[in-house]
Symmetry: C2
Subunit: 263 residues, 2 copies
């Protein structure tokens, strides 16, 4: 049996790299080096992990069991091309990038994608985070599965195609949702109303989705097809100088989705 992962090099010191490296260290792994193009970023995370920073891929330490690439999607191919250890296991953490992009780096490559929104400064409980893994070789799949299981009880084997679907669904569930919050905040702020008033509603809306099917618990004027209320809302939005188009568009999508004859 392959030995498990003990030593890790983190390539990237952004939101994902930071939270993932700290979580791995908490599980007893040794992060032996942090790479970032910026010495500031590499240094800041390396200090937290008590390891060495690097700013040149040529300086990557050779004795790690795993190299994790947690950088922007566009920068992954270049790192793959210049990765100096073709016999080593290299994974990226991107939802929207195919595993194949790491082929240039060597035969042992894969994906370790934690399905969560991360901020450098915000601590997260990794034990509840789904981690989607993929590997070019079965032995590496087993190694990654074992590693992921140390972090979380939710480990999924997911192909590159499925991961892209998860990623686009996550854009709706997270990024677009947050934009809805931001619009609500903007509307209230313009009228000196406190966004705090909406926070219990935001919490409850998310809480409902924890047990229910969201489509089944849709509420509001659109799903009730209450045109009078929608008209009032559009009038007030027009006085407010915006958001009518997005209001109309999403309302139509809700009405459309709630049709029983939906195909």
């Amino acid at each position: 049996m392959e030995k498990g992962i003990e030593k890790v090099v983190m390539i990237g010191a952004g939101n994902v790299g930071t939270r993932l490296a700290l979580a791995l260290k908490n599980c007893g792994l040794e992060i032996i080096q942090v790479y970032s193009r910026s010495l500031d970023s590499a240094g800041m995370l390396a200090r937290k992990l008590d390891c060495d920073p690097a700013t040149d891929l040529k300086d990557l330490k050779a004795h790690a069991d795993l190299y994790i690439v947690a950088i922007s999607d566009d920068a992954i191919p270049e790192v793959a091309e210049r990765f100096p250890y073709p016999e080593k296991l290299l994974v990226h953490t991107s939802g929207s990038t195919s595993m194949d992009v790491l082929e240039d780096a060597g035969a042992r490559h894969g994906v370790f994608y934690p399905l969560q929104t991360f901020s450098k400064e915000v601590e997260v409980d990794f034990s509840q985070i789904p981690v989607c893994i993929e590997a070019a070789h079965e032995e590496d799949m087993a190694i990654l599965k074992q590693l992921a299981s140390r972090l979380t009880s939710r480990v999924y084997l997911v192909s590159s195609e499925e991961r892209l679907l998860l990623h686009v669904a996550a854009v709706f569930a997270c990024n677009f949702t947050n934009h809805m919050y931001a619009i609500a905040e903007d509307i209230l702020t313009r009228y000196n109303l406190d966004f705090e008033m909406l926070r219990p509603l935001i919490r409850e809306t998310a809480r409902k989705a924890m047990h229910e099917s969201p489509a089944g618990v849709q509420t509001g004027p659109a799903v009730r097809k209450n045109e009078k209320v929608m008209k009032k809302h559009l009038e007030i939005l027009s006085a407010l100088g915006g958001y009518q188009k997005i209001y109309n568009f999403i309302s139509e999508s809700i009405i459309d989705k709630s049709k029983p004859e939906k195909s």
Copy 2:
């Protein structure tokens, strides 16, 4: 000083009427009657409250201190017109309906609007729910304020205009957000992927909004203007037969909102 509210008649037995009546009873108030056009609905809630149902407004009991109208917006004017006790305090619970709609019922009217999404079957902790009150007379405002304070620590005096703004903001923060969850669910379900995988992300996105300004913590390809990823998402959505328009539209709104020269 006016005496506080002790006896309440609930006019309406839907989501808001049910949760509000049960919460008031829990605070020690006596719900003496439930009215609904449907005897089934009135009877079901009346049984939970251990009081009498009514299906005709002429049968409303005369000795309540407060009559709460928790029915669909469109039906409020008719109830106001036919309300038999012009000297009694009557309030509605609607976010998008002006207080004036109750003028026909009598001089003592107002609004008691709990800013939350309710389901008949789902228990809620009222102590965290903002309640927005308004009254035609100052004495009634004091009475409603005292009543609301028994339910929650978050009592706000809010005009009809402000309440409509809160309501439209709530549509974004709750109804539209839930629709984003529903789209994510639909995308995954079509490919036999488990919606459960997204729930930790939904929880974390809402949790972030509890302390942060949503506009300040926006993440994802749109705010990073990552056109390559957006193009990949649009391709997969097109193969999936839908949602490209809504993806494009919300992405544009995010890009637009994140412009520094935003007016």
